[in-house]
Symmetry: C2
């Protein structure tokens, strides 16, 4: 029987779950709205139960589940100190899942799990000092230094979206001013485009589709990529990463994102070379794949994960 | 015989060396100008030789030397990849000292060594996640995360002075614009005071002595502490330190530094508490004490260092 895990990425609006086999293939998937609090826990339990039944029918032996969420996550205890969008405060998420499911469950942080996936399988493979900047609706970072993911004293490290890039600048929805996220996040780009009078786009992707043909779209996008370069200037100075990976939904813009950010960062750094800048190779499912890696680590078959991109040799049948 | 080491802090203008005994007491000291290149190496050798003779005469057994410098320092190899003020490029500093001195020599980075001293003996004692912001002529940081000092991929981490706090802001002597150091370093404060027309001060300490009686001094100092708060806002978001220590010569300003930076940081953070902010308790000699700690680590009597502040119990006579 083939070993597998169930990997769950709990977001503020959607819960995404999948069966991931020991070759790293997602075999079946489910999605549900994330309603917060106990409802989200119930949805996660129900999805795991359903996927487990499907996996068994397909000849897969589910060994563990890996769950990742935003917020202040203590991976060692499985507790969530605080997750604003999910309504959890000092909540024993691992306990709430393991007891009823009778399955080992790992609990991790969504962006750090994405960093783990990039390090083991993706654009940062082999790097022990890198930054993953996850550009979604908001912006957060996973920082690996000396081979270890930085969690901070209260599991709150990586709030790259709320670095002040323009002191006293535009209001951020978070209540602070001049945050990177207020200029460059997936939510900020269309908001700033419309605020400037633009009418042709209501998502970041639609704004990038207008580049070269809509002066407002060009302006807002240049301001977003410039703000990102200022943020990466700071991270390069402080952390000296071997490389920087841009991930999340906005990284799907490809060269339209990578080229202007790289050029602006190189110019800003003046006296040192910019670290290589790459797009995520795992893509927006990096958090979910990181959850699978963390779950496989629980089962003792973590080494197999190394084979996911290099081929199936060495993985137990 | 009492064990001792010789601790050497190589700066851009001065080399400071001292015999440090196994109680952490500096027993005798020497200073020499730092002329760069081979001249600095010769000065370090000569100081170590001289101090060693003095130590022997005082009944101290010199077991090792610890040397710290600015620049790109690889502590594992003892090589300096680059140190602009010292004229070293890909230089085997440890080899250049050990061979002639016939003494084990540790080579470390001055600010990270200061961080080590704060962690073992000073204001960050017991913390495994903290930032030491070293405020001297320039500004640099030591970052400890999960108990490990961050070096970065090329030993270049911690360049906090060259984080852009005001994008497109004032020219920094480094060639970049809007760097923290251009507003808040020991060199910047009197430069900005004079550029604004001030005539009563030519050092940062003299500017702080005028606070409350000279409106220009007040203004320039407020701009410096505000810039520091913006920088610490970023570091708090990214690293979530358990505490922040302000060290270096400017920390001798005491509450005149600590209070406005704390107040501004708390206000800027809005939705999270500021990490506690403390002044260095080791003081400007933190780098030298860190060099002593690194040298004692070579001798295998590192445990004794833990007793430096708690008393002599447990240290070998």
């Amino acid at each position: 029987m083939t070993g597998a895990v169930i990997a769950v990425d709990i977001g503020g609006t959607t819960v995404k779950a999948a069966v991931v086999d020991d070759r790293g293939r997602r075999r079946s998937r489910r999605e549900a709205p994330s309603l917060g609090g106990d409802d989200t826990v119930a949805a996660v339990r129900s999805m795991i139960d359903g996927l487990r039944a499907e996996a068994a029918a397909a000849g897969l032996d589910v060994l563990a589940a890996g769950v990742v969420t935003p917020g202040l996550v203590d991976a060692s205890t499985g507790r969530i100190a605080y997750a604003s969008n999910l309504g959890w405060r000092d909540f024993d998420l691992r306990g709430a899942l393991e007891t009823e499911l009778r399955l080992p469950v790992s609990v991790g942080h969504d962006v750090r799990a994405a960093g783990r996936a990039e390090a083991q399988l993706g654009a940062a493979r082999g790097a022990s000092d890198f930054v993953l900047l996850q550009l979604g609706t908001g912006i957060a970072a996973a920082v690996m230094t000396g081979g270890v993911l930085v969690t901070g004293a209260g599991s709150a490290a990586g709030e790259a979206g709320h670095m002040p890039v323009y002191p006293g600048g535009e209001d951020c929805p978070c209540g602070k001013r001049g945050c990177l996220e207020a200029y460059a996040a997936g939510a900020a780009v269309p908001r700033r485009y419309r605020a400037a009078g633009g009418t042709g786009a209501s998502t970041a992707r639609e704004v990038t589709a207008l580049l070269g043909r809509d002066a407002l779209a060009d302006q807002v996008w240049t301001e977003a990529t410039t703000a990102l370069a200022f943020g990466l200037n700071t991270l390069t100075m402080m952390l000296d990463p071997a490389l920087i990976v841009l991930g999340g939904g906005m990284a799907l813009a490809g060269d339209a994102l990578l080229k202007p950010v790289s050029a602006a960062l190189s110019e800003l750094l003046v006296w040192r070379a910019a670290p290589p800048l790459r797009l995520s190779s795992v893509g927006p499912a990096a958090g979910q794949l990181g959850a699978a890696i963390e779950a496989f680590a629980l089962t003792g078959s973590a080494a197999c994960v190394d084979e996911w991109t290099s081929g199936p040799a060495g993985c137990p049948e």
